[in-house]
């Protein structure tokens, strides 16, 4: 089956119904192993045990940005190609991205208090991440405000494309400005600055979170397709009654 054939919602539902249980099982297995490895990871020589917050904070930050990137591709799909699943993807992804970005902000604050002596500072990285969270809330509010899904999709797509400007700002904020937040330490030229005893559990947790995200996204897309079927049936019912 070609990927483009999944554009048909009925075919997508069949594939999603098959894939979700397997992806869910894989998520549980990878999470179990990742948490086991995270528990065995040694304390950092400077930060002590608080480094374990990184195993939640970093994957949730990556997913918050990955999700907006996915929504940006979906926005192009809505505006340019009018792909049938593009706005379904964008609508299903927004609450997931908001949740992971919120988790990033909360865990970051809880990590910041013992390390920096404060829960929050208005530095570039933290502020741009907060803006991403507010953008997610804006997208969710826009979906709920406009009743017609295809009209809402166009407005959301434009907001998503504008909001994508925030992604490079988040990524490079630690290079462009002096921030309290540490610089890039995982994916950088010259290799990671993190020791493998901490890096491996971090990458395993990232893989587990990504599997969780894909599983939840497929499930939320399935729900959105069903919700649109409900809407179509109710419109048919109303027109038949009228």
């Amino acid at each position: 089956m070609r990927i483009s054939e999944l554009a048909n919602p009925s075919r997508f539902l069949r594939v999603a119904n098959l894939a979700i249980p397997w992806l869910g099982g894989a998520t549980v297995i990878v999470f179990a192993y990742a948490i086991y490895r995270a528990m065995l990871a040694p304390d950092d020589y400077q930060q002590g045990a608080t480094v374990k917050i990184m195993f939640l904070h970093v994957p949730s930050a990556w997913l918050g940005m990955l999700c907006w990137g996915l929504m940006t591709v979906a926005a192009l799909g809505t505006l340019v190609w009018r792909h049938p699943l593009a706005d379904v993807t964008a609508k299903a992804a927004a609450p997931l991205g908001a949740a992971f970005t919120l988790l990033c902000l909360v865990t970051g604050s809880l990590w910041g208090r013992p390390e920096w002596g404060t829960y929050w500072v208005w530095d570039a990285r933290l502020t741009s991440e907060l803006i991403l969270f507010l953008l997610y809330l804006g997208v969710i509010a826009l979906w709920r405000t406009v009743e017609d899904p295809s009209r809402a999709a166009r407005g959301v797509a434009i907001l998503t494309l504008v909001g994508a400007v925030d992604l490079p700002i988040i990524k490079f904020s630690v290079d462009w400005w002096n921030t309290l937040h540490q610089g890039t330490s995982v994916f950088r030229l010259g290799g990671s600055t993190i020791d493998s005893t901490i890096l491996v559990p971090l990458l395993l947790m990232a893989a587990a979170f990504t599997l969780l995200f894909v599983t939840l996204l497929l499930a939320a897309m399935r729900n959105e397709i069903l919700r649109r079927r409900v809407r179509t049936l109710r419109l048919l019912q109303a027109s038949a009654a009228g």
Binding site: A7, N8, P9, S10, D43, G48, A49, T50, K52, I53, L56, H57, S60, P84, D87, P95, L96, A99, F100, L102, L103, V106, T107, L110, W111, R113, P114, P149, S150, L212, L216, A219, A220, R222, N223, I225, L226, R227, R228, R229, V230, T232, L233, R234, L236, Q237, A240
Partner: protein, 63 residues
Amino acid sequence: MQAPAHIAFIAAAYGAGIVVVAALIAWVMLDYRLQRRILAELETKGVSRRSAREPELTASEDR
């Protein structure tokens, strides 16, 4: 055994992680049940899509 320093911050972070992940899983599962139940109710009332009577759905009909 001595508890690591700042254990409350670590526990609070993992607690937040559990709450967020559990909320997301509950949201998709409950929403799926709700949509399936509403669809079943509508179908028992005899409301069905034209495409449901055809062998394959066209992409535009679900938009």
